[in-house]
Amino acid sequence: METIVQNIQGVPLNHYILFCSIIFAIGVMGVLTRRNVIIIMMSVELMLNSVNLLLTAFSVHHGDPAGQVFVFFIMALAAAEVAVGLAIIVMVYRNTRSVDINALNRLRG
């Protein structure tokens, strides 16, 4: 316990914010540069996780457990989102034989 406390002593909150924004930006880049729907969903997971870590860091910094409860809810929501999203991907693959995001452009009106 003491070593853990010593380890995070001295990491400024700014560095947590910067680190989480870098991971979030990497997720945005993944959404913009890939065409595989599954990889795009993985990038969304990356963005969700960066926000989770930032919420935890703020929660620890302010000594308020509500932030960590929010992270728990976000994880439950992400699990639901992944289940429905992958079901949709399997259904689209069955109809179009591809996971290319451009196969969905027939949704355009």
């Binding site: 406390v5 990356l46 929501l77 992958l86 991907i89 399997v90 259904m91």
Partner: protein
Amino acid sequence: MSVFYFVAFLSIFFALMTIFTKNPVHSVLYLVITFFTFTVHYILLNAQFLAVVNFIVYMGAIMVLFLFVLMLLNLNKDTEPLKSNLVKFMGVIAGMCLLVTLAASFRLLEISDPVVLKNPDIGLVSNLGKVLFSDFLLPFEISSILLLTAMVGAVLLAKNDPKKA
């Protein structure tokens, strides 16, 4: 202190590998390693409950689901659809613009207090359970309904339509 920077470097490296690897299966495996480094971050913040949940739910359940669907659809490097280099370059530039904007605005904020554990047992299961079942009881129950709805929806979507077949 240096542990944080080392693990942060590993997270960024594996996150970049996740989005720039051609083979989707390798991409999922790199994402698993990224989530493992996030678990180490939670342990460093002494959020033990979240570390265990992240380890079991994210690495154990969600990533296995991704891997399972990838293998079910039999995707590999040859079937991977790729964007043209120009679109990729524009995407990276747009992401970097977002990062620069965020970093510049945080620089203006100038919060640089070091993160201090004011209350060391804040992330333990007993403490979080008390908060979850007193202040957040209604959202907790509603999230159970959300999970039930998602389960029914996923089964309904993935099941074959008997009329069509």
